[in-house]
Structures are given as structure tokens and as C-alpha cells.
């Protein structure tokens, strides 16, 4: 299932940009002709993120027409959130 490979790549993409930060949510834009099944993506996300800085994060998917397949944004815990 290629969604697994896509999520593995996503974890790297997010981890590179958020070193040491706790990820609260990941926002994706997925086109209906992209060849990606959103349900399979969500399933893969839950499995692949275990033990990574993305564990427990919310996956938010904006389904759009077309073949877009993008990581839109990442919501992070503010660094001083724990007083």
C-alpha cells in the first residue's frame, strides 16, 4: 500500500523541520485524482507515527479536486507551553 511509504516520507519531512518539538497536528491537501486513498493514509499515519515526534498528532486532510498531494502546515506545541 503506497500510503504507508507516503506517511513514512511525511514523518521525515516533518521531523526535519521540527527537531525536538512536539507535533499537535499535521495538515495535508489531497487531490481526488492523486492516487492516494485518505482512509489508507489515516490508517498508515496512526501506525507509522508511533514512537516518533508525531505520535498522538491529529491528521487533518483537506480533500480537493485534482492531483495535489501536499504537506500544508504543521501545528506545534509552543516551546514554553509547560511552565
Amino acid at each position: 500500500m503506497h500510503e504507508l511509504a507516503i506517511i513514512e516520507s511525511l514523518v521525515d519531512q516533518v521531523a526535519e523541520r521540527t527537531v525536538g518539538r512536539r507535533v499537535v497536528a499535521v495538515d495535508l491537501r489531497i487531490g481526488d485524482r492523486s492516487g492516494v486513498v485518505v482512509a489508507a493514509l489515516a490508517f498508515s499515519f496512526d501506525v507509522v507515527t508511533l514512537g516518533t515526534p508525531l505520535e498522538g498528532a491529529r491528521l487533518v486532510v483537506d480533500e480537493v479536486p485534482g492531483d495535489d498531494l501536499a504537506l500544508v502546515s504543521v501545528e506545534l506545541l509552543k516551546e514554553d507551553s509547560c511552565a
Binding site: M1, Q13, R33, S34, G35, L71, S73, L76, L77, C82
Partner: protein, 231 residues
């Protein structure tokens, strides 16, 4: 409440910030594919990503091509398990590297990049990357190839292009194999060709039989190796 350790009042809003990224999900694969494409072009190596369902005849087409032409051909083979296909290519007289994906359903640019280091194709040679047999997943992954070849055999039915539109829409050429079996199957070859063309209007559609040799001349023309075909 703090999500890190649970301290603070439950009603306290967690302070977060949004980092805008706006990057393709397959950016890492695509960047590496671009690097592969550039380094192949630099060495004048033409690379073909060969995709089909299992058993359509990708390996047989390669064996026949290797036997029939004097061009330097080398192959990266992709399968979940075994070295059967790389063994067949070597027996046919060409160099091959086998990639085993385990549970993976497609080759990606990092696998091809690594395999190219082992294979080290000669300048000006033809490189074929035989993808994992699968009409779905390989279509999404750029390997750095020059062109995508989709193989379908007549035994699979004339509805398959419509059922797997993503794959057929990215094909640069569609090889329709096993035409020698047409008398034994309920397939409308013209309809199959029409459907493949409707999904990729610029693609060549080449009905042929690897077994009998019918139609192979057009495949060698498309590959640009007609001048190197053995007499």
C-alpha cells in the same frame, strides 16, 4: 492542560503555533528522482520504467529485447522476493541488479539510486527498471526515468485501462502483449487500444507478441534500436 506532562488546569488552552510548509508529500522522492534523471542524462543513458500487473510479460519482453539487439542493455529488477527475474536477465546476456522490496509494493527513487551504484551502467546504454508487478502504486513514484512503459497482456481484458486509469494516464507507451492468444480470449483488441489511447492520447500503443515476434519491430523503432537489431 499541557500535552507534554499533563500539568496545569484542564481548561487551560494549549499554546500552539502553526508552521506553514506547502511542500509536495513526495518531495524527497521527487528530488532524488531529479538527481537520478540528471546523472543518467549526463551519461547519455536512456532509462525506462517498465510497469504492469504480475505476469503481463515485462521480463519476457526484456529477454527478447536483449536477445534481438546489439545495444548495451542493463536492468534493475524489482520484486517483493526472489532473484528469479535478475537471474533470467543475466541468462539472457545482460547485467542486472535485483531489488527486493519485502512487503513494499513499488520501487522508489532511493532504491533505484542505490541499485545504480551497484549496476554502474555504461555511457550510452539502455537501462530498464522493471517495477514490482502492480497496476496501482508504481504510477505515483518518479524513479528518474526517461519514459514510462506500461505493459498489458490481452488475457487481462480490454477494460483494464479504464479500471486503472492512473497507471494508463502516465504511460508514454503501452505495450499490448500476447497477441498470439487473441483467438483464445474474449478481448476486443481495438477497444483495448482505443481505451488506452483515451487515457494517454500522446502514448504509442504497440500490440505485439513476445513469443512469436509479431509487432516487435514497432517496439524496437520506439526504443530507437532498429539499427541495432541482429539479423
Amino acid at each position: 492542560m499541557c500535552l507534554t506532562c499533563g500539568c496545569g488546569e484542564p481548561e487551560t488552552e494549549v499554546a500552539t503555533e502553526t508552521l506553514t510548509v506547502e511542500e509536495r508529500l513526495l518531495a524527497k522522492n521527487d528530488d532524488l528522482a531529479r538527481h537520478v534523471r540528471a546523472s543518467l542524462a549526463e551519461r547519455r543513458i536512456t532509462a525506462y520504467n517498465l510497469m504492469s500487473s504480475p505476469g503481463a510479460g515485462k521480463t519476457s519482453l526484456l529477454e527478447r529485447t536483449i536477445a534481438d539487439t546489439e545495444r548495451d542493455v542493463c536492468v534493475i529488477e524489482g520484486d517483493q522476493e526472489t532473484t528469479y527475474d535478475a537471474d533470467r536477465i543475466r541468462a539472457a546476456g545482460a547485467r542486472a541488479v535485483q531489488v527486493n522490496t519485502g512487503s513494499g509494493c513499488h520501487l522508489d527513487a532511493s532504491m533505484v539510486h542505490r541499485a545504480l551504484h551497484d549496476l554502474d551502467p555504461a555511457e550510452g546504454s539502455l537501462l530498464f527498471v522493471e517495477n514490482v508487478g502492480n497496476l496501482v502504486c508504481p504510477a505515483l513514484f518518479d524513479l528518474g526515468e526517461t519514459a514510462k512503459v506500461v505493459v498489458i497482456s490481452v488475457t487481462e481484458g480490454d477494460d483494464k485501462p479504464l479500471k486503472y486509469p492512473h497507471m494508463f494516464s502516465v504511460a508514454d507507451v503501452v505495450v499490448v502483449n500476447k497477441t498470439d492468444l487473441l483467438p483464445y480470449v474474449d478481448v476486443d483488441l481495438d477497444l483495448l487500444v482505443h481505451r488506452a489511447r483515451s487515457l494517454s492520447p500522446s502514448a504509442e500503443v504497440l500490440p505485439l507478441s513476445v513469443r512469436t515476434g509479431e509487432g516487435l519491430a514497432a517496439w524496437y523503432s520506439w526504443l530507437g534500436v532498429r539499427d541495432a537489431v541482429r539479423a
